[in-house]
Subunit: 372 residues, 2 copies
Amino acid sequence: MNNEINIKTLIVKNPLKLDCGKTIKNYPIAYETYGSLNKKKDNAILIFHALTGDQFVSGVNPITNKDGWWSYAVGPNKSIDTNKYFVICSNVIGGCMGSYGPSHKDPNTQKNFGTNFPIITINDMVNAQNNLLDHFGIDKLFSVVGGSMGGMQVLQFVSNFPNKTKTAVPIACTSSHSAQNIALNELGRQAIAADNNWNQGDYVSKNTNPNKGLAVARMAAHITYLSKKGLQEKFGRKLQEREDLKFSFDADFQIESYLRYQGSIFVDRFDANSYLYITRAMDYFDLTRKFNGNLSNAFKGTKTKFFVISFTSDWLYPTQENKDIVIALNSIGADVGFAEIESDKGHDSFLLDVPDFLNVLKNFLEKSYVEN
Amino acid sequence: MNNEINIKTLIVKNPLKLDCGKTIKNYPIAYETYGSLNKKKDNAILIFHALTGDQFVSGVNPITNKDGWWSYAVGPNKSIDTNKYFVICSNVIGGCMGSYGPSHKDPNTQKNFGTNFPIITINDMVNAQNNLLDHFGIDKLFSVVGGSMGGMQVLQFVSNFPNKTKTAVPIACTSSHSAQNIALNELGRQAIAADNNWNQGDYVSKNTNPNKGLAVARMAAHITYLSKKGLQEKFGRKLQEREDLKFSFDADFQIESYLRYQGSIFVDRFDANSYLYITRAMDYFDLTRKFNGNLSNAFKGTKTKFFVISFTSDWLYPTQENKDIVIALNSIGADVGFAEIESDKGHDSFLLDVPDFLNVLKNFLEKSYVEN
C-alpha cells in the first residue's frame, strides 16, 4: 500500500544484535520529521509511538488520510511546538509502516518473514531508533517523549543512553508489564491466532488475511483504552439508530456499533503479525530485569530531567505504576517532576484533547527549553 | 453429551410469552435440588446461576466431574446449608445444560435452532424458572440468591413477584448493564462470530465447532473476573516452566498458559450459541427500563428482606452499582442490608473461598430463617 507514497526511510548499515540473540543489518527505519533542526542541533525531540502508532505524528497521515495520531499535542504552537522544536518520529522495528518487520521479505527465503521475523524487544526498538541521531548529526536530544509503549521506550532510551537527552517525558506507562497487561495482550494474540486465515503467520503467501481475528484483538484493546465512566458517559445504553431493542444479535447499542467500527477500520491500516510482535515486545518489557529488580539502578548516573505524567482514569497503566517511576528516580536524586491529570478518558487521554495534559506538557518543555 | 446422565427436567406446559414477542410452550427446564423440602414448604432457596453456570451448584457436576460451581457456599453446614434449606437451581433458558436453548431442535424444521432460537431476557429466564415453584408446591420461597447474572435474576424475580420470597440476596451485580459490560460481552460475541466454524450459528448441521472463537471469548471474560492486584499477586511476571524468556510466541508467562488453559477447558462444557444468547440477555438487562429509569419503582410494595453484597476489587460490577440497588430500596423503605467484602479476587470472589463473604451470607440467611 506504500507504493506511491514517499515514506522517508533510513537504511541502517550498522549491525544490531537483538535481545533474542540474532543480528540484523541493512534494515530500514521509516521516519518522519516536523519543524527544523537548528544550527546548534539542540532542539530535537524524538517521539516514540505506542502499540498501533506510526511515524506520522502530526498533519495528515499519507497512508490513512486521517490526522496524525498525536495531532492534538504536536504541531505549530502546540505542546510540542514544531515552530520551535525539530520533531523526529520513526516506526518501531517489528511495525508495519515501513520499518523492518514481519511483512518484509526474508533475504534467505525471499518469502515474507511472517513469524520467522525475530522477536523484538523495547530495548531493540530503542537501539534501532538511536541510529536516527547519527543520521541527523544530533549529539544530544532536547527531549524524548512518548505515551504507553512510547513511554516505555522513553524509559529504555534514558537507561541505555543516560546522557543523550536533556529531558524525558514518559506518559501513561509502566516500567514493567503487569500480569493483567500481559493477559490482555495475550488475548489479542490468541484472537489473531484463532483466525484460520492467519495460517501460522504465513498469510501473505497463502493470500489470506486474518482480518476477523485482528479486528477482535483491536476491539479488546480498545475497551482497555477507555474508562468505565467515560464509556458510560459517552455511550451508556444508547441505542444505535433505533427506537427500541431489536431482539437480535445486530448492534443494538451504540457501543457495539462503535467497537465493530473500530475493529473494521483498524484492519485497513495494521498488519496482524506486527500486532503479535509489538504486543510481545511490550510483554517482555521489564526495565528492572537487568538490575535485580531495582528500577533506580536502571537510571543511575543520568542527568536527564524527567517529567512523568499519568491520568486518573487510566486503568491499563494506572497512576501508581507511573508514580513508581518517580519514586525510583527520586531515590537516586534524579531531577523528576510528576503530574497526575484528572480525566475520564482513560488510557487514551494522552492521545485526546485533554487541555490540562496538553498544558502541562507544553509548559514543562518550554521551561526546560528556555533553561537550555 | 447428556445421554447417559440423569438430568432432572421439568417440561413446562404453560406457554411463556417472551419479551421478544414470541411464545414458547412445552419447553424443558433442567434443574437440580439439594437438601429436603420441609413440611411447611418454607425452607426453599432458589439459586440463580451466572453466565456460564448451570444447575449443578454443589457436590460433583456429573457432566464435568468437577465440583459444582458454588461448592464453597452450598452444601451441608455451608453458608447455604443443605441440612437446613431445600436448594433448587435450574439451568437458565438459552443455556446448554438441558434447559430450552439454541442447541435444541426447532420443532418446525427438526434442525438445531442455532441463532433461530428466540432472544431471551433475564425477565424470561426468571419467569420460566418460576414454574419450578408450582412444580414443588412452594407458595413462598425462603430466599432467592445469586451472583453476577444470578444477582440480576434475583432483582428481576422480586420485581416480578414482590411477595414470593421472604429474602433476597443479590451479589456482585447491577440493576442495569453498563456500556463497559456491554462492550465486553460484545467482544466475546464477536470472537465467536469471527470463527469461520461458527457458520452463522449453524455449526451442528455443518459438523463444525467454533471452539477457537469460544475459547477467545472465555479468555476475555476470564480477565474481567479477576482484579489487577489479584493477577499480579498470583502470576506477576512468573515464567511457565522455564528459566528465561524463549523469544517466541509460546506461553512464556504463567498468566498466558493459565488463560489458554481456561479457554481450552471451557469449550468442553459450553455451547457457543448459548454464550451468545446469555450475554445478550445480560446486555438487555436494565431493570429501570419499565419504570422510567426509577429503580425504586421496580421494587414497589415488596415485603422481601434484601441483603446486597459487593466486593472491593470487583471492577465488572463495582460496589457503587451494588450500592445503587441499596439506595433504591432504602428510598422506598424496603428492608435492606449491605456488605462490601474486602477481597483481591475480583468479580470471581463470590465463587471462591472468601471467608468474610461466606460468613456474611451464612449469618444473614440463618438470622432470617430463625425469624421465620
